[in-house]
């Protein structure tokens, strides 16, 4: 499997050979998509980790253990449902059926149906939707 991560690390970790460690110890392929690393300032890597599910999980766990802040890059919809007034404006643009009015005219959100098209972000007059790019790993 393949997963995309953002790895952020403090200046003290710049001297560590993170990538080669991942390749040798956990048998994952690392594709570096973006790197912003400098001595004394810390850095950020955007990487694809390719390998067995368990290997990726162990890699993330090892990185976390040595102090790298790891977040998975996934496009997903974040909905602040507590503030929703169930006006229904978002249902006008939701073709996947993730956002629907129930029989009591309350808005229901079924994340499993969401295709992350993002149209609801601008359709909500209370601005309760956000497209998130990262989540803690």
């Amino acid at each position: 499997m393949k997963k995309r991560f953002a790895l952020r690390f403090a200046p003290g970790l710049v001297e560590q050979p993170l990538v080669s460690k991942l390749v040798r110890a956990y048998d994952v392929d690392v594709n570096i998509l973006n790197a912003d690393v400098s001595s004394g300032r810390g850095g950020k890597l955007i990487v694809d980790l390719v390998g067995r599910t368990e290997a990726i999980k162990q890699s993330v766990s090892w990185l976390g253990g040595i102090g790298v802040v790891v977040s998975e890059i996934v496009k997903e919809l974040v909905f602040n449902q507590d503030s929703c007034v169930s006006c229904g404006g978002c249902t006008a643009v939701c073709s996947s059926g993730a956002l629907q009015m129930d029989r009591e005219w309350k808005l229901v959100y079924d994340a499993s149906k969401c295709v992350v098209c993002g149209l609801c972000v601008n359709a909500c007059p209370l601005r309760l939707f956000e497209l998130s790019m990262e989540r803690g790993a």
């Binding site: 007034v85 006006c87 249902t91 009015m101 005219w105 601008n122 209370l126 601005r127």
Partner: protein, 392 residues
Amino acid sequence: MAKTIAQINEKIKAGSVVVVTAEEFTAMARTKEPGQLAQEVDVVTTATFGPMCSSGAVINFGHWNPGIRMEDITLNDVPVYQGLAAVDGYIGATAESKYDCQYGGAHVIEDLIAGKELRLHARGKGTDCYPTKEIDTYINKDVVNEFYLFDPRNAYQNYGAATNSTSKIKYTYMGCLLPSFGNVTYSTSGELSPLLNDPYLRTIGLGTRIFLGGTQGYVVWNGTQFNTAKERNSHGIPLGGGATLAVIGDAKEMSTEFIRAAYYEKYGVSMFVGLGIPIPVLDDDMAGRLAISNSEIETYVFDYGVDGHPAVGKVNYAELQSGKIELNGKKVKTAPLSSLSVARDIADTLCGWIKDGRFLLSEPVARFPMDSSVEPLRQRRAGQDASEGAER
């Protein structure tokens, strides 16, 4: 036998009043005649919770020492109308912050109701009696003298539904309209909506006590763009627009559950206003009006993709609320813009207030005109006759 509002109020005080919501009344009317319902039910509560742009609030900030004649006022960078004496201001719901178009007057009002601190900045030219030229401070609803909602146009009787024939998405005050008639939006609470249950405003007039934003408020005038000349269907329902109400209420007592700021993409700021009106079941005629059901309430569907928004269909609210209507021979998805679930909460809350004897009905001080129409703004020369040069 006909009842009077005074008799109904006696029943409220005695705790024997029978009050139901307009949806419950309509359901009862499926099996009972208006005459029987007029005997059994005393009051019907109606409600709506939708975006109402023509809303705002009056604030008296209190006098600074030494005094300032505020001539340029902002609250959280949103301009406040300043042309009202030294320290009175009016914050319109659709006013926008100088720096963030998604934050406006409605947000200021909601934040004040929520008890938040807002930054007040004001300038004056400095006069002998008001020498201070600039102030920069914070206010909340407890430190200002008055803070009351005054909405020039709320509770539209009916409103046209919206669609879009063009090949591009349209962002409007009627929400996001998908291309090629991709959806239809509508914005009333149908058979629960106040002015659809009293279509000729027999019981709603100047001074009518109402639910406004979570507290008691009052109808203080007909709303702007008040139109009684609108085409009506056989049930007396205007097909779009129609009557409106100007309302007032103490915003310090309101709740953000029933007043919420909104931002419509590429349109601007608006405000959801929670409004409920109790309607007395005075006689068979009122019972018949209150029995109105969604299938009897019709409106036109307008094309917001074309200048002038021509009508492209006519539908009823039973169809709109079913989630799909037929337009040009095709099924089109429908979506509401006003919250029926919050409107139901309001109607239920009002039922509770009346049952508990906390809310008495009021006789209108005066009824609103029934010969009012709405005219467009035209280019004209000073002194030119209004009908001259009229295009339509």
